[in-house]
């Protein structure tokens, strides 16, 4: 294997982006995946950050944040949060958002807020472990036409129910989102360190769609905290092509994917 697991994850996420998409990326891995897609197969995709920096390509390495100098050096527009997350995301204009998850459940609800000892969302005290909170992920989850979730595939992170719904997926499943009239379509994929899950059409339960060549159906099932169902046509994800890896590594000039 001439690539890392993180690189596979970034390539798989990048493949979810179509040419012409209006995209919003978070920092880190999701930004790498996004800029990889633009450089590789989606030259007309347009990237915005939730800070309201449009039209830019990172200079000098992976940005430290969505407002960093590295992503401000060649922008075509500086605006603000209401413009990016309101006019473009909450309005329903944005095609795809990529967000990270510390914990995700079988309906694609995402927790990035904290872990509590009590195994219930009715916890009454402060968290045992404080995470980062929503940032703009909640709006992305409500408003983007498609949402791709990236998460490390470990049993404790793939829970029957998340400790806290930071960003809504399909809530209790089925048609539960309809109660809130979200303009966005909900999560279309969970790209994990082992493979890809996608929602079943009616129940909206996330099922095993495909696995990376270094993983297996068995390993993905073992590392999932709910009884992971498998799509009948589950298959291996094509390995990164030479050109995909070359382009990804040129985007990842500070070597973030190699550190992990």
């Amino acid at each position: 294997m001439n690539y890392s697991k993180q690189e596979m994850m970034a390539v798989a996420t990048g493949r979810e982006i179509c040419d012409g998409d209006l995209c919003i990326f978070g920092v880190g891995l999701s930004m790498l995946a996004g800029y990889f897609a633009i450089a590789h197969h989606a030259p007309n995709a347009r990237a915005i950050t939730e800070g309201g920096i449009y039209g830019s390509t990172p200079v000098g390495g992976l940005p430290w944040g969505i407002e960093d100098n590295r992503i401000s050096a060649n922008a075509t527009c500086f605006t603000g949060a209401i413009d990016a997350l309101g006019f473009l995301v909450a309005s329903g204009r944005c095609d795809i958002g990529i967000i990270g998850a510390a914990q995700v459940d079988k309906y694609g609800n995402v927790n990035t807020t904290g872990f509590w000892d009590k195994d219930s969302r009715e916890h009454r005290s402060h968290p045992r472990v404080r995470l980062n909170g929503s940032g703009g992920a909640n709006e992305i989850g409500c408003g983007c036409k498609r949402v791709v979730i990236m998460a490390a595939h470990e049993k404790k992170r793939f829970a029957e129910r998340v400790d806290y719904i930071t960003t809504p997926g399909y809530l209790e499943g089925g048609a539960a989102r309809e109660r809130y009239h979200f303009v966005g379509g909900g999560p279309s994929a969970i790209i994990t360190t082992l493979g890809i899950l996608r929602p079943e059409l009616v129940t909206k339960e996330f099922m095993l769609d495909s696995y990376f060549s270094f993983s297996s159906i068995e390993e993905m099932k073992q590392q999932t905290g709910w009884n992971l169902k498998i799509f009948p046509d589950a298959k291996a994800v094509p390995e990164p092509l030479t050109r995909e890896l070359e382009i990804l590594r040129s985007i990842d000039s500070t070597g973030m994917l190699k550190k992990k």
Partner: protein, 336 residues
């Protein structure tokens, strides 16, 4: 227009008090933020602050670690690629600081509503999630129905959420440049500074540069914070350090990590305050703490060209000293 220049220490004395609802801007984790103002608040031992901020920053991290604030309302509590904010984590995980979660759009909408005098702001986001259902301020209620109450669209009957507006007692906002009366130009993302400046009851600017008003008159379209809503202006170059100021300086990678590491313990925090707050009073001494060579390195960055149109109007240190003497806060016989 009045000359509203003020010294850092006097601004903190005059505009802050224990227990107040304080906001800082832009409230970004790596970028623009009024951090040197926060350092001075630590020096003057402010406490029980109810902190309203868009996202986390090293100021939030410092306030949580040093016990300046006991309540925070914000959308994000990390430092992006610099990692979790250790001071915040420690304070929230021990229950010393109560952290109420919102999202980035909802913070801006709450400022916008406060600015417009609206009773609440309808929202299509946050609903259905635990940002709506959980309130750290009301921990015994689940699902909480008073944080973001459900409302019915009077036209369609659909269910949405009502965000409470917020009008901080004071907003201290970092800007790239301002004239002496507070007409400010911001390079980089504006984030929520436009609406925050209009929501707050008092506004103090912390600016990297003082520019001549001729600059403002040349680019009035770019003035997103006008002097009519500004109470005072603190000239303080590198005031967002160790975070970045687009067009002026980069974030200081070493110090971002050092600061975050030290804020991870009480001993470390005490050391941080000793070494990086009590060690200077004047701007010259502050720059020595940053390190002159380090400051130059940070100022030589990939966004320097963004400052080019404004450079000829930037006031020198000597000119600022003279202007300071003519300020309404410094004139003889002034009430302050």
């Amino acid at each position: 227009m009045q000359n509203k220049l003020i010294s850092l220490s006097k601004a903190v004395e005059m505009f802050t008090r224990d227990g107040m609802m304080y906001a800082s801007g832009a409230g970004l984790p790596v970028g623009s933020e009024s951090i040197v103002f926060g350092r001075e608040m630590v020096r003057q031992k402010r406490k029980n602050i109810h902190y309203i901020v868009h996202s986390c920053s090293q100021q939030v991290n410092l306030f949580c670690a040093a016990g300046v604030c006991d309540k925070v309302e914000a959308a994000f509590s990390g430092l992006e690629v610099y990692g979790f904010a250790n001071g915040v984590r420690r304070a929230v995980e021990t229950g010393r600081v109560i952290w109420e979660d919102w999202s980035n759009l909802s913070m801006s909408l709450r400022f916008l509503g406060g600015a417009l005098g609206w009773p609440f702001v309808p929202t299509t986001a946050n609903i259905g999630s635990d940002i709506q259902h959980k309130s750290a301020f009301q921990p015994d209620t689940f699902p909480c129905t008073t944080k973001i109450p459900e409302i019915t669209d009077p036209f369609t009957g659909k269910i949405y959420g009502a965000l409470p507006v917020v009008k901080p007692e004071l907003a201290v906002i970092h800007v790239t440049m301002s004239d002496v009366s507070g007409n400010a130009i911001l390079l980089g993302t504006e984030w929520g500074r436009f609406e925050l400046a209009r929501a707050a009851q008092k506004v103090v600017l912390q600016t990297d540069y003082i520019v001549d008003t001729a600059c403002i008159r040349q680019y009035p379209n770019l003035v997103r914070i006008p002097e009519v809503i500004v109470d005072a202006v603190i000239p303080w170059q590198l005031g967002a350090w160790p975070q970045c100021s687009v067009g002026v300086y980069d974030s200081d990678e070493d110090h971002m990590n050092t600061m975050n590491r030290l804020l991870g313990s009480d001993e470390g925090c005490a050391k941080y305050i000793e070494d990086y707050i009590h060690s200077w009073r004047t701007h010259d001494d502050f720059i020595k703490v940053v390190g002159k060579a380090n400051a130059q390195k940070l100022m030589n960055n990939v966004t320097s060209h963004l400052l080019a149109p404004y450079r000829s109007w930037i006031k020198s240190d000597g000119e600022i000293t003279e202007l300071m003497e003519q300020s309404l806060f410094e004139k003889k016989g002034s009430k302050t």
